[in-house]
């Protein structure tokens, strides 16, 4: 089977269309970054508290918001999390003060607010861990066994709650179904009650950390671009490196722009995805460049524009196939990867498409544009390229 055979599309002839296309997307993203959603930073970078709560019934956002406001947690951003059947809500509490003490105070306040009026002196069985259950059992000593035995019983109950009941008991009696002795649950009832929610995840990032991570992400991106530029300079020629880096920057800009346009949070994992797409787009560009380098050695009479066009066409089949297949894997990540990987796979889905496009539409035309510009400066028409085939290192010269 073969999709593409001896194509001869004049890619360079369409450079104005490409330029227009790239400009529209970049400018739209930049405008959104500046004036609309800004750059929607995730909790990792802006600091703050995320509390993921699962309820017994579909969460009522108005009630939650009212309870949070009463507790002094204004400006909370509420959003349904995961599939509707999971009855889960993501509570996003912005950083309130710059003081670095007690980072977890907001989470504790939120849990208290959700608990409402709890029975006097009792703890919520849905929001505590095994060691609390163990201590309560040791204190009551219903089975007259050693503390180590209570430890096991406590773990059994909590594990049953988390794995079989998704973290939520409807009543303390439900702990019985984990298979513990009868006396145990009666003892638990004296110290515990069950609320209608379970905090299954929490992320709390202090302002200091947010700042560090921001700096780290920017540095990591810049250094990896620099590393690639140096490698390409070494393997090819300066202009190749510059063209590839410009193409990759173009991809990053459009991807971040897309996150701004869709108002999706940029988290630490999204940064990992963006760096991946940087690598991927670079990969794609290099394949084309490699072919250009190879063709320059054999096609001595053609102009650079013709060589570039031919090279893109020769690698087109591979480009489309690989991108298509990678897109397939990334798409399956986006569709089946679940809520946690949502941002990550979104960045890759956009990035793979843009990264493939930019090698053909940005990087390659830049080589030709540079050469034409050099040619005009010297005052002559672009001449065929001298090939230094023997060394395997080829210079683009006017």
């Amino acid at each position: 089977m073969e999709f593409f055979r001896n194509t001869s599309i004049d890619f360079l002839g369409k450079k104005w269309i490409f330029l227009g296309f790239s400009l529209i997307f970049s400018v739209a993203g930049v405008l959104s970054m500046l004036f609309w959603h800004k750059i929607p930073l995730g909790v990792d970078f802006r600091g703050g508290t995320l509390v993921y709560v699962k309820f017994t019934e579909p969460p009522n956002e108005d009630q939650i918001r009212a309870a949070l406001n009463r507790a002094g947690l204004n400006n909370a951003r509420l959003q349904r999390y995961d599939a509707p059947a999971k009855n889960s809500e993501l509570i996003d509490l912005p950083q309130r003060s710059q003081a670095a003490t007690d980072v977890d105070s907001d989470r504790n306040l939120a849990i208290k607010a959700l608990s409402g009026a709890a029975p006097q002196g009792k703890q919520d069985l849905n929001n505590i861990g095994a060691s609390t259950v163990r201590d309560a059992l040791i204190k009551r000593d219903p089975a007259h066994v050693a503390p180590a035995e209570y430890e096991k019983i406590a773990r059994q109950i909590v594990e049953f709650r988390d794995k079989q009941r998704d973290g939520l008991f409807k009543s303390v009696d439900e702990a019985q179904q984990s298979g513990v002795q009868t006396g145990i649950v009666d003892a638990l009832k004296q110290d515990f009650y069950t609320s209608n929610f379970h905090v299954f995840n929490a992320e709390i990032v202090g302002p200091q950390v947010g700042q560090q991570l921001r700096k780290q992400a920017i540095l990591a991106t810049l250094y990896s671009l620099l590393g690639m530029l140096i490698y390409l300079w070494f393997r090819f020629e300066m202009i190749y490196g510059v063209a590839a880096v410009v193409a990759v920057f173009h991809d990053t800009l459009i991807t971040v722009g897309a996150f701004s346009l869709t108002n999706t949070d940029i988290t630490l994992t999204v940064i990992a995805a963006i760096l991946t797409l940087v690598g991927y787009s670079m990969n794609d560009t290099i394949v084309v460049f490699d072919r250009i380098r190879e063709n320059i050695k054999v096609m001595r009479r053609e102009s650079l524009a013709e060589i570039v066009n031919r090279s893109i066409n020769q690698t087109l089949s591979r480009t489309i196939l690989t991108s298509g297949l990678t897109f397939l894997t990334v798409l399956s990540l986006y569709l089946f990867g679940g809520e946690v990987l949502h941002g990550f796979s979104l960045a890759l889905v956009i990035g793979i498409v843009i990264g493939t496009y930019s090698s053909i539409a940005v990087a390659a035309p830049m080589l030709v544009a540079y050469q034409e510009w050099r040619g005009r400066r010297v005052g002559s028409t672009p001449a065929p390229l001298p090939a230094q085939a023997a060394k395997g290192k080829v210079r683009v010269k006017a």
Partner: protein
């Protein structure tokens, strides 16, 4: 030629076997082998491939160590030494103080030093305070003392190391498997703590963060203390005695009510937290829960010297001491006689449980400085399990789709590519097992990306071979040329991606790093499988075929 191929096939099979074994055995063979024998193959897999917190649930904390507190404690001691030495030498200076204990904790200013006192100051610093630079002259006969830069940074690093040791001792009592407690490279003086499977974050936080700094300090005026700060100050006409501070505490009165008390205590403790050797829960003379502790030799000597000089038998009117825990007075009493190395924290307010917890904390060593929590993440076990299911599901769906496509598009050569792909995964997982790296959710994504790049290498080669075949080359020559030309491109693409992944490992933390690690392993495996393995398979096929027979590609 045939013989050489046979050798290569044996090599490939051997590598495959080794890495398959590594997936299940990991880097702790005896442990994993035991797990496999007892609980089957999956148990071995669980032992060797470490899952990140995002996949198995657990708690993650980052703490900032307030290293300046340790520096301040050191300079407090230096002030004490200076005062003592000047007194001994009979030289007087106007004042020895720390002008900015919070912002500039090592700075000591000696004011009004003239004549002999200056020489004495220089002598004290050289002989007794080796960590300090020679005094530099300030305005009005004052002298500035600063810690040597090297000593200062050594002290700060040591503070972080000691904190890590103390935290590890405390975490060990929780029985968490494979906790990670280490310096966090991202900021200065930060500690990263990861506790897989831990769920009671509030309790863990309390255990980690309580400094458990036990000190014994001299108490001035009365061991009963004052009802509030104002009356304590009033007793000294508004100015505290030199080198003393006010400290709050609680007292249980005769009717059993607790009341806040304020004590005047010495600024520098007689015995510090590092002088405690161990502690046990016990009961005081009234049968209430209490904690008794033993001092180590150095602490015992200091304590004995102090108590013999300040007991009721001496002329010192301030013959009292207080047991201070985390800057609060727990109990204060009169010193009847010399005490060597045993003490008791009593005075009520303990339950059986809190007495036991405190004894654990004291035995594990106090924190040399307090900790401020700056990041905290908890992942519930159900979410982790959900993530694994989703991630694996996505990986399998993606891979199957790619494999089917390769088969359809490249026919027999597709089989070749798929074999290479599977071997790639085996090697990648084997790497993960043997290196002890953790597999995180982004790590699974890294695996998926590796699959993508692995396919890319094969597509590059196959397309090149097709091109050569179209140009009229024979099968063997086309394979030769295809591999030869694609090889350069594959090297370039892999090196650039490895460069950026390596930078991620250097500068990234947590999830980003996990991603980069799997990506690098995957790419290295890919260089081997896509280029070497698939070449060997081609050669083997070509060897069996006659000349001129077509290649299925």
């Amino acid at each position: 030629m045939q013989k050489k191929i046979g050798l290569k096939i044996v090599l490939i099979l051997a590598i495959m076997l080794v890495f398959t074994a590594l997936i299940f055995l990991g880097n702790d063979w005896s442990n994993s082998a035991a797990a496999i024998q007892k609980r089957g193959l999956m148990a071995g897999l669980q032992e060797s491939i470490h899952l990140g917190l995002d996949l198995q649930g657990g708690a993650h904390f980052i703490y900032q160590v307030k290293v300046n507190e340790a520096v301040s404690a050191q300079s407090d001691a230096a002030v004490e030494i200076l005062t003592e030495e000047f007194k001994k030498a009979g030289k007087a200076v106007a004042d020895i103080s720390k002008p900015d204990p919070a912002g500039d904790p090592d700075l000591i200013v000696v004011k009004g030093a003239v004549g002999d006192a200056v020489a004495e100051l220089n002598r004290i610093v050289t002989e007794r305070l080796p960590e300090y630079s020679p005094p530099s002259r300030g305005a009005d006969n004052s002298y500035l003392l600063r810690m040597k830069q090297a000593e200062l940074s050594k002290l700060k690093t040591l503070t972080v190391e000691k904190s890590i040791d103390a935290i590890r001792n405390r975490i060990d009592t929780l029985g968490v498997r494979e906790p990670i407690i280490q310096e966090h490279g991202l900021g200065d003086y930060q500690i990263l703590i990861q506790l897989p499977g831990a769920d009671d974050t509030a309790r863990i936080r309390e255990l980690i963060q309580s400094t458990a700094r036990l000190e014994i300090r001299q108490v001035f005026d009365t061991p009963a203390g004052y009802p509030d700060e104002a009356s304590a100050l009033q007793a000294h006409s508004g100015i505290l005695p030199p080198n003393t501070i006010l400290m709050h505490g609680r007292d249980v009165n005769a009717t059993g009510e607790t009341q806040d008390r304020v004590y005047i205590v010495a600024k520098v403790p007689v015995v510090g937290g590092t002088d405690v050797r161990d502690a046990q829960p016990t009961r005081d003379e009234n049968g209430r829960p209490a904690v008794s502790f033993n001092l180590n030799t150095a602490g015992g000597n200091k304590f004995a010297a102090f108590t013999s000089a300040h007991s009721e038998r001496t002329a010192d009117p301030n013959h009292y001491l207080a047991i201070v825990l985390d800057n609060r007075v727990r109990s204060a009493a009169s010193i009847r006689d010399e005490i060597r190395d045993r003490g008791q924290i009593s005075g009520g307010g303990f339950t059986e449980e809190s007495a036991r917890d405190l004894a654990t904390l004291l035995s594990s060593g106090s924190l040399p400085a307090s900790l401020v929590s700056i990041e905290e993440r908890t992942v519930g076990p159900s979410l982790g399990a959900d993530s694994i299911r989703h991630g694996v599901q996505a990986a399998v769906v993606g891979m199957v789709a790619v494999m089917i496509f390769m088969l359809v598009y490249y026919r027999f050569s597709g089989v070749n590519a798929n074999l290479a792909l599977m071997l790639n995964l085996v090697i990648l997982l084997g790497f993960l097992g043997v290196s002890g790296a953790t597999l995180t959710l982004p790590g699974i994504a890294g695996v998926i990306l590796t699959v993508g790049m692995g396919v890319d290498s094969n597509v590059l080669i196959f397309e090149r071979i097709r091109e050569e075949l179209r140009n009229g080359k024979a099968a063997a020559a086309a394979v030769e040329q295809g591999f030869g030309r694609a090889w350069l491109t594959i090297i370039d693409t892999h090196v650039t991606t490895i460069v950026s992944a390596a930078i991620l490992i250097l500068f990234g933390t947590g999830p980003v790093r996990g991603f980069a690690v799997t990506l690098i392993f995957g790419l290295l495996a890919n260089l081997f499988t896509a280029v070497f393995v698939s070449r060997v398979i081609f050669d083997a096929i070509l060897g069996r075929k006659g000349r001129g027979e077509a290649l299925s590609i």
